[in-house]
């Protein structure tokens, strides 16, 4: 698939900045950001990104709930979602995949390898 617009969702500004710097420096994708699940749904509705990098633990609405909302909406149900999480136990990762995510990236991640990591899940 061709990625033109990617949405990065994380409540931690440091993580957002690292992921954004990596993607903007290494790809020509347009980067959108959001800090909570609720804000992510708003950005998705108005900007329709090609792919979403979604944190799991966030205030207001967590990543799993946000994914559920996206899946329930016919307009957003096909947007691939990749979780980015500090929950690294096998059963947690398996649960995220079962929930419908295309992939899971564990923190800490290597920002220099991030674009390739994302591509590996959607190509």
């Amino acid at each position: 698939m061709i990625i033109q617009k990617i949405l990065i969702v994380d409540d931690d500004p440091n993580i957002r900045m690292i992921a954004q710097t990596s993607i903007e420096g290494l790809t020509d994708w347009q980067v959108l950001t959001a800090t909570t699940g609720v804000e992510a749904l708003e950005v998705v509705a108005s900007q329709m990104p090609d792919l979403i990098l979604l944190d799991v633990r966030m205030p207001e609405m967590d990543g799993l709930t946000a994914l559920k909302h996206l899946q329930e909406n016919p307009q957003t149900t096909l947007i691939p979602v990749i979780f980015i999480t500090a929950n690294v136990q096998t059963h947690e990762i398996e649960a995220y995949i079962r929930s419908g995510a295309k992939g899971v990236i564990c923190k800490p991640f290597d920002p220099l390898a991030l674009p390739d990591h994302i591509r590996s899940f959607v190509q």
Partner: protein, 558 residues
């Protein structure tokens, strides 16, 4: 020998509770109604208010003696007709004289045969009915002494006849053939043993009660209808909660380990026991209520059977494991804390450093680049340390997830080598493999075996000199196991250090003083992981001859 009318009332006056109890049991077995007074004074008070058909009294008691008691009874017109039997060891003439003088109707030697005692009682009861209450002075001679006794003649006669009878009995015993004596003394011995076994039973009951009271485990015993027979102190502390339960159904229901699902009725401990199931220390939850806090209880049950093997109830034993459960929750909390609170800042630190190192934050000097590279390496080490600690915490608390499947050893080794090839190339180290597995597979958790292989190969790369070779090979360990070996041409390890290698934080530098990066937990983690998968791990090494780190895993059954 149930000759007595059920209403016949007998008063026992005896200061020894044990003797009084034994006597009471004997009399009650004949349907007598029995009262017990522990002293002569108490007996007199009792007799002033209650009517009694016969009195059995001990002689030597604190306060007034049996003689004095008898004397007081016989001088009281309201009660003088009640027959009194002295329980004594009448042996001396003085005893007989005192017995006659105090007006006793009969006497029985201690220790007595229960049947003989009962016969005497019936005899006295019968005699007292027909005896005329006629008194007057009687002159008697005993052992050369003349006695004037102001008592009922018939009473004196009865008393003397009974003492004569005692004499004949003792005489007969002396004259009897040996086997007859054996049989008589056997009977006495039996009575004595019965009395002994009764007191032993009471002693055992007291011991059992003390044990139950002092136990930290809660013990509940209920009969086959669910009526509670025993709740020891620990059980009352947990279950009573200010109430007085009578039935097993009055006790609160237990919950499953998820703390929200009630245990089904047929799985509650009492019902499990009654249906013959065991619980084997299953841990159940009892939610707090009223003043009581939450409890975690480890439960064991067994069924009470009678001599025919029928279920007559259940014994339930609970061990309070609340403290351990709470500690486990704290460990889980600690785990969660490490996962998030350390991973998140490390993601920012390592991420920033990598972005600078990769030039995405603009150009920097070569010196700065070296420093950043060093910082990246060290942050990687910190991440590895956290991962190792997490693994060890999980393994040691039994929470490590192991997903076993049949695995191709060749693929495992190739995958590891591929991942580390660039590291080997940059250090100019050659990795060669000898994998002759003939299609055999091993059983284990793929990601955990890869973790061990990566760790061992990483160690070999760290300690190998430039232009050396590392050999990875597989070979049969025995008919059930496959052995993986990682053989390096590094400096080797001294024999006295080998046993330290797999202990936590025991990283050793074999030849030089420089520190080689590592967490000091890697080999310990490898050992725990391999052993958790039913395998073994070890090392063979010699200074100057390199090292051979090996591990073995069970072969898959084809």
């Amino acid at each position: 020998m149930n000759q007595a009318a059920p209403a016949t009332q007998i008063l026992i006056v005896e200061d020894s509770p044990t003797q009084a109890y034994n006597l009471k049991i004997t009399l009650e077995s004949e349907s007598f109604q029995v009262k017990v007074c522990n002293s002569g004074e108490e007996a007199l008070k009792f007799l002033a208010e209650e009517s009694i058909d016969l009195i059995l009294t001990d002689i030597i008691m604190p306060g007034i003696s049996g003689y004095d008691l008898c004397r007081a009874i016989k001088s009281d017109t309201r009660i003088r007709d009640i027959p009194v039997i002295l329980l004594t060891t009448l042996r001396e003439e003085q005893d007989i004289i005192q017995g006659i003088e105090c007006g006793a109707d009969n006497f029985i030697n201690k220790p007595y045969d229960p049947q003989y005692l009962l016969a005497r009682i019936y005899q006295v009861l019968n005699v007292s009915k027909r005896r005329l209450s006629k008194s007057g002075n009687v002159e008697v001679e005993l052992m050369g002494r003349s006695l004037s006794v102001n008592q009922n003649t018939a009473q004196v006669l009865d008393f003397l006849v009974s003492s004569f009878e005692e004499y004949i009995r003792s005489k007969k015993l002396e004259d009897l053939p040996a086997e007859a004596i054996d049989s008589t003394s056997g009977l006495a011995q039996k009575a004595f043993e019965l009395s002994r076994s009764q007191s032993e039973l009471r002693r055992q009951t007291l011991i059992l009660q003390s044990i139950l009271t002092s136990m930290v485990e809660a013990v509940i015993v209920a009969d086959e209808r669910g009526n509670l027979i025993t709740l020891n102190k620990a059980a009352r502390d947990i279950f009573c909660n200010g109430k007085q339960p009578r039935s097993i159904n009055d006790l609160e229901k237990l919950y499953q380990a998820d703390q929200v699902t009630p245990l089904p009725d047929d799985k509650q401990p009492y019902n499990s026991a009654m249906s013959g199931e065991t619980m084997d220390g299953i841990e159940l939850f009892l939610p707090g209520s009223g003043n009581r806090l939450d409890y975690w209880l480890s439960c064991n049950v067994s069924v009470l059977k009678d001599e025919l093997g029928l279920n007559k109830g259940a014994v339930i034993v609970f061990r309070d494991v609340t403290a351990r459960k709470q500690l486990e929750q704290q460990v889980r909390h600690f785990y969660s804390m490490i996962t998030h609170e350390l991973r998140t800042p490390l993601t920012a630190i390592k991420g920033s450093l990598r972005l600078i190192e990769g030039g995405l934050a603009g150009d920097i000097s070569n010196k700065a680049k070296d420093l950043v590279t060093m910082a990246v390496t060290e942050s990687d080490r910190l991440i590895a340390l956290i991962n190792d600690i997490l693994d060890i915490t999980k393994i040691e608390s039994g929470r490590l997830e192991i997903n076993v499947s049949d695995l191709d050893p060749t693929e495992l080794v190739r995958h590891t080598v591929n991942n580390m090839q660039s590291l080997a190339d940059s250090a100019s180290i050659k990795i060669i493999t000898e994998l002759n597995t003939n299609g055999t597979k091993v059983v284990g958790d793929r990601s955990r075996i890869l973790q061990v292989l990566t760790n061992l190969l990483g160690n070999a790369l760290k300690f190998s000199p430039t232009n050396s070779t590392i050999l990875i090979r597989t070979l049969p360990a025995d008919s059930n196991r496959l052995r993986f070996e990682i053989v390096d041409q590094g400096p080797g390890i001294a024999a006295d250090k080998l046993n330290l290698l797999f202990k936590p934080f025991q990283q050793i530098s074999s030849t030089s003083s420089h520190s080689i990066g590592g967490t000091g937990l890697g080999l310990h983690t490898c050992q725990l992981l391999i052993e958790r998968q039913g395998g073994a791990i070890g090392v063979e090494s010699e200074i100057g001859k390199g090292s051979n780190f090996w591990f073995e895993l069970p072969l898959a059954i084809i």
